[in-house]
Point group: C2
Chain length 191, copies 2
């Protein structure tokens, strides 16, 4: 399982064998059953998660009691409340397995130690966040620019894996749509 994490890191940055063996000690492997929580709202956001297998989501519960999914992560993605993680604060989001998951987690303190011990990880995380930040800004643009139907079609085109794997009620709030509307679009088989 370690190989999935190491393979991902080595796709983005060069690491010596010594650095690789040092690195794995900073991460804790964890299996999550479907619907199991990795982290709950109102806890201190102390962990960053790498999804080696499966799918996780981050969501909050709005004032009307509706769960709203704001983040999704499949294989090769990192997930946490990045702002709360950086600022060492509690999060108002919960992180849950959408499918059975194999994840690697690293605590905030170990993350800081790792970046000092293996400086090549600065490059790796710089690239991960550069990609994530760009994608997140793009998502805001879609939310502002497109009709509800176009948001769904664009997302399906860019991330077909998510559309096939994520339950309708989760996908709907992630895209700012109602589950009924997502169901209708799926049924229409829009091409």
């Amino acid at each position: 399982m370690n190989n999935i994490l190491l393979g991902h890191i080595r796709r983005y940055t060069s690491l010596s064998e010594a650095e690789c063996s040092k690195l794995v000690d900073y991460f804790v492997y964890r299996h999550l059953q479907k619907k199991e929580w990795a982290m709950h709202a109102n806890e201190r956001c102390n962990f960053l998660y790498f999804v080696a297998r499966g799918c996780m989501r981050g969501y909050f519960v709005d004032e009307a009691g509706v769960e709203k999914t704001t983040q999704l992560a499949i294989e090769g993605w990192w997930i946490t409340d990045f702002q709360a993680f950086s600022q060492r604060r509690t999060t108002d989001c919960s992180y849950q397995a959408v499918e059975p998951c194999d994840v690697f987690c690293i605590s905030e303190a170990d993350y800081q130690r790792l970046l000092v011990a293996v400086p090549a990880m600065e490059r790796y995380f710089r690239l991960m966040y550069e990609i994530g930040y760009g994608a997140s800004l793009n998502r805001v643009k879609y939310l502002f620019a497109y009709s509800k139907k176009e948001i769904f079609l664009h997302f399906r085109e860019q991330y077909p894996d998510f559309v096939n794997r994520v339950p309708q009620y989760i996908l709907a709030t992630f895209l700012g749509l109602t589950p009924e509307y997502v169901s209708k679009l799926r049924a229409e088989r829009i091409s």
Copy 2:
């Protein structure tokens, strides 16, 4: 003027004097007049901008011809279409000075060279993107979670500088509101 950029970088990462003097060669200083464009939609997104003084915005024009501001940057912020910049593609956004600006820009090729020549910059940009990514995810949460009035109030609380400096029509689309509604909220002097 170089000192503003260097001072910002040194707040986040340690640099030797030799690294500092090497670093400045990678950036080009540019003054932008109010409403001057740094980059136009449909150009290759070849530059990353650091705002040393002033305020810049990124916006696109929707199908109805309405300008929608998706990014704002004041002193100490970096701005570009990060996804297009990373992927060396054309952008569909334009970048314009909201106020007279002093900026430092770096081309994509120089950015890659700089990261190799001064590896401490990996840490600096990792931190910049970690902060930016966290803020962007938070913004998506606000858009989903809050009423229009709450979005404005939260934003004003977190970023009072933007609310005071950015014209109403720009702020409105940035928050997904109409200019009339922002005007009404400002007039109400909601506390």
